[in-house]
Symmetry: C2
Subunit: 239 residues, 2 copies
């Protein structure tokens, strides 16, 4: 029997150190909302996105005239034009632009994984096209969830579970980790109604308080785009 | 409405730092097999258990004439009489004795949480009696899973999910964390057949290779004892 390739789900950026040497492709996932916004941005003609971990770096770019999105704890950071709502990246003024983005969790995952051979952006929005591409890659794949301030979160885990589930069903991939088994189980429980499944989740409660139900529904709707954002020389571009 | 108490599930000792200040009771869980063995030991008349994090400390106690269990990676450490199989603690020679124990994961969880107000030992073996006691405690409760070398594992998570589920159903407790929602969901999926649910889990594969299916079945059988081991001055004793 041919040796199968591995796909695993890692729950937080801080757990990445336990996984990092075994995978040629890292799929960064931050469903609510960074990686969904990034997919929406490329679908809508943004040229590239520069992810930066700190507010300070984001401010430097803003001074130079860049469009800059900055989010912390679900809200737009004072002094910036927008945060990480996908709808902010779908405006005409974003088309063909290079945009800078810093967020609470998602840009942190990109930062910790940036030395990997390939870093791509995953979300429900590009689920099918991403999995089609991953299946053709012939590489070992790590789904890196962004979590919430280094704690486990549900929405990234079920997205990672969806990707792992699709790859394993192809019979080309297998997994060794309990975190992956659990993510797939959670995805299968959530599948018919992710919005309902996430009802009690901490992040949904957090965003609901900020009146962001429209964003949440958008971010949980699969296969809205075929773009696969990939990190090249510190910038996210369309594959 | 009365403010509810909190119960949460933390997946690994290394995540404990994100949780530790909010909980008066820590329930340490290492289903396969340390905390199951500790419960079995007290059920069978062991007087006390001294958990130690390192092999070196365990050796010091052995030189002084103590009975010492030492396990690493599922196997008995060379030079020690037994590891962490529950059956090793159920022998006549253990009755009324003070026993020393070091294990890969479980004693590490006790080590990181030892400054908590109360540290008790949880497993499927004492599930019902432990939950009855927790429900009367009027304290906030953290279920601290031991994981496998600081990674998430399934068996501890479903045990934590069982405890959280029972406490929340009482209506006295609530949870804020996605890790707890997921643990409860996984427990509900595993409930009718934990042995089957864990079939693919990494630890079951690991122990199966060591011919330990009998241990696994024993550790997954709930409510075999009413003992609640509790940490007092560095020793585990019967509450």
């Amino acid at each position: 029997m041919m040796n199968k390739l591995r796909v695993e789900v890692c729950y937080t950026p801080s757990d990445y150190s336990y996984f990092k040497n075994d995978f040629e492709i890292v799929v960064v996932i931050d469903v609510l909302r960074a990686t969904s916004a990034i997919c929406a941005a490329f679908e809508n003609g943004v040229k590239s996105i520069i992810p930066v971990p700190t507010i300070e770096e984001a401010l430097e770019y803003k001074k130079k005239g860049y469009l800059v999105g900055a989010e912390r704890k679900g809200q737009i950071v004072d002094g910036f034009d927008f945060g990480n709502s996908p709808f902010s990246f779908m405006k005409d003024e974003c088309k063909d632009k290079e945009i800078v983005l810093t967020t609470t969790n998602g840009t942190m995952s990109i930062e910790v994984s940036k030395e990997a051979e390939n870093v791509v952006i995953g979300s429900f929005l590009n689920l099918k096209s991403l999995c089609d591409w991953l299946l053709k890659s012939n590489k070992n794949i790590l789904c890196l969830c962004s979590g919430w301030q280094d704690k486990f979160n549900l929405e990234d885990t079920i997205c990672g579970g969806a990707i792992a589930s699709i790859l394993i069903e192809s019979n080309k991939y297998t997994s060794n980790e309990d975190s992956t088994i659990a993510a797939i189980c959670l995805y299968k429980n959530a599948k018919t109604s992710p919005f309902g499944f996430l009802k009690a989740s901490s992040h949904r409660r957090r965003l609901k308080n900020l009146n962001l139900n429209k964003d949440i529904k958008f971010c949980l709707t699969p296969n809205q785009t075929s773009v696969i954002p990939i990190l090249k020389n510190g910038k996210l571009v369309k594959l």
